[in-house]
């Protein structure tokens, strides 16, 4: 009990030793903050999965149609017709040669650009509308039915109509992503207005602020954390809607690439696409979290 030896940083990071915060606690079951990261197990999981992937193809346990081999060279099946390049080789060739004459980075950038544009449009429209709904009864009345009834409609359901209306170009894709972001941003902005502690608004008025000043200096900054959470959510949702949006007419983008590859049963490209989407989605999320800490340090401290 009197053990004052500090565990190494690595051990704490891996979650095999208690960290400074948890080590003194005797009650850990039920105290989520006292549960170690267990990152050793994460590392083990990832390693085991990679090994399994390598092993099943090495010993030909899985039909490459269902899951592509990690390394084609390791893949001496008796039926050479079914031999595949392997995900690693394929990835290299995607990076170097591209897919359907479009470099991989361009597919990625096209997709990311679409998501950013969609979220941006959604925010530009949704934030003022959400504010209006939180501040004004006419705006609330006008927008309420739209929000309540159109919101539950998944963007994918609108694809047939969107193709008819906007065609197959960027406009259609941006519109779908815009719709996905719009309601999230609108509701976030509206919640942001509602979350203002009324005493802050009262204080501002008592200090002589006018309505526009209250909006600018009190409501807006107060709503920023919610708006940011909205941005983060809509990034995630738009990233999820992207594949649907790129279904419209396959040209560029990670989603399109996967859809085309699927048609050719190029499971390896599909899997690369999935991994790419996962990694990019994860990266976006992490960036947004970092940005939030940096931009809105006062979050949750009102």
């Amino acid at each position: 009990m009197a053990d004052r030896k500090q565990p190494s940083k690595l051990a704490v990071w891996l979650g095999v030793a208690d960290n400074p915060f948890t080590r003194q606690k005797t009650v850990k079951f039920g105290d989520a903050s006292a549960v170690n990261s267990g990152r050793l197990w994460s590392v083990a999981t990832v390693a085991a999965l990679l090994f399994a992937w390598w092993a099943v193809t090495r010993w030909g346990l899985l039909d490459p149609i269902f899951w592509p081999p990690l390394d084609g060279g390791l893949y001496p099946w008796d039926n050479p017709a079914r031999a595949r390049p392997g995900v690693v080789d394929r990835f290299a060739s995607l990076v170097v040669e591209g897919y359907r004459n479009v470099p991989l980075w361009e597919h990625v950038w096209t997709s990311v650009r679409r998501v950013l544009l969609g979220v941006l449009c959604g925010a530009l429209a949704g934030i003022p509308l959400g504010f209006a709904m939180g501040l004004n009864s006419v705006a609330r009345g006008l927008l309420d039915p739209v929000v309540e009834f159109i919101r539950p409609i998944p963007p994918l359901a609108l694809i047939p109509l969107v193709i008819l209306w906007l065609g197959i170009d960027e406009a259609a894709k941006t519109f779908l992503l815009f719709l996905a972001a719009l309601f999230i941003m609108l509701i976030a902005a509206r919640a942001g207005v509602s979350s203002v502690r009324i005493s802050k608004v009262h204080a501002a008025y008592s200090l002589g602020a006018s309505k526009p000043q209250v909006l600018r200096y009190v409501i807006l900054p107060n709503a920023l954390p919610e708006i940011f959470t909205g941005l983060r959510t809509s990034m995630g949702v738009c990233w999820g809607t992207l594949v649907a949006a790129e279904l419209v007419a396959a040209d560029q983008g990670v989603g399109s690439m996967m859809m085309v590859a699927k048609n050719f049963l190029q499971t390896d490209v599909v899997v690369i696409g999935i991994i790419l989407i996962g990694v990019i989605g994860f990266t976006i999320e992490m960036l947004m979290r970092a940005l939030e800490v940096w931009l809105i340090p006062w979050k949750g401290k009102g």
């Binding site: 149609i65 359907r100 047939p160 193709i163 008819l164 209306w165 906007l166 065609g167 197959i168 170009d169 259609a172 007419a249 396959a250 040209d251 085309v260 699927k262 048609n263 050719f264 049963l265």
Partner: protein, 305 residues
């Protein structure tokens, strides 16, 4: 107008892919020609309705009929390809179903791209074989998905066109050969369609498009071996598979298209038949009395050799 958009299919090796790859179209038309791949002909119709796509090369006849019956301003300006062999239904090898016991399909699940030529062929075939189509569990699947479904045994029969059909044949055999189908009057061909407005505003471009296509067909016919490789790559197919398609399909020349066998009269009659058939099956709300108004052979006629 600095760019026109043409809809086409992947895994659909037509001779004009050479012209597409070599940018012959761009040169001849004097505008940038953008080729966009679609999953089925109905999606081409929708995109044309929005005005984003001007020309559909190799749109199935049925999607065209569906579109025109529903009032979409599409114009049929030519025949792209006839490919009875490249569009068919494959019964899973384990099902043991042949024409003789085709009625056993009732109650089973069948995949087809709905509202397409394939769908039409399927329904006509079933009718011919005395199978009650309404008792079949018909699911909408685009060809590539149908391959997986049949391979896994999720469906008893799968219908598809193009490259995926060849893959389907790995897992079973066709219910009825193309020859047998033609014998009972089922024709399978794709058309070249353009939006009415495009035809009106840019007749010269349409004419040149048909011209380049015709030339590409002719050039290919003269020396197929020289181009097979290019076509297979452009279609995203293995050489052998592309060859099979090319060898069994015909790409009628302008003269042939204008003859009685095609747009002279027989296509018009066939179109009415298709429309009535779908109307009878309840897929179309109504068939038009005539589709002549939507067929415009003036561009073909203007295509001098």
């Amino acid at each position: 107008l600095d760019k026109i958009t043409v809809a086409y299919f992947l895994e659909w090796p037509t001779p004009n892919l050479v012209a597409q790859a070599e940018k012959t179209y761009d040169e001849a038309l004097g505008v940038k020609v953008e080729w966009r791949a679609f999953g089925n002909g109905n999606e081409m119709s929708q995109a044309m309705a929005s005005g984003d796509v001007h020309i559909a090369y190799s749109q199935g006849l049925v999607p065209w009929v569906v579109a025109v019956s529903n009032g979409l301003p599409l114009r049929l300006v030519g025949i792209a390809a006839a490919y009875a062999e490249a569009d068919n239904c494959v019964v899973h090898a384990d099902a043991g179903i042949t024409q003789a016991n085709a009625a056993e399909l009732e109650g089973k699940r069948v995949a087809t791209p709905i509202g397409n030529v394939t769908h039409y062929k399927l329904l006509r075939t079933l009718e011919h074989l005395g199978v009650d189509a309404s008792k079949i569990d018909l699911v909408q699947m685009n060809p590539p998905d149908a391959v997986v479904a049949l391979a896994r045994g999720d469906v008893t029969m799968a219908c598809a066109f193009g490259g995926p059909l060849q893959r389907l044949k790995e897992f079973g055999s066709v219910l009825m050969t193309a020859a047998e189908q033609e014998a009972i009057g089922i024709r399978v061909f794709d058309v070249v369609s353009v939006t009415e407005q495009f035809a009106r505003d840019h007749p010269a471009l349409v004419r040149k498009f048909m011209q380049v296509t015709d030339q590409a067909n002719a050039t290919y016919a003269a020396a197929p071996d020289r181009f097979n490789e290019t076509i297979a790559v452009a279609a995203g197919m293995e050489l052998a598979a592309a060859l099979e398609f090319l060898e069994t399909s015909t790409f009628p020349s302008v003269e042939e298209q204008l003859s009685a066998a095609w747009l002279g009269s027989s296509v018009q009659a066939f179109i009415r038949e298709v429309a009535k058939f779908f109307a009878k099956h309840g897929q179309l709300d109504r068939a038009l009395d005539s589709y002549e108004f939507a067929i415009d052979t003036s561009f073909l006629k203007a295509t001098g050799p």
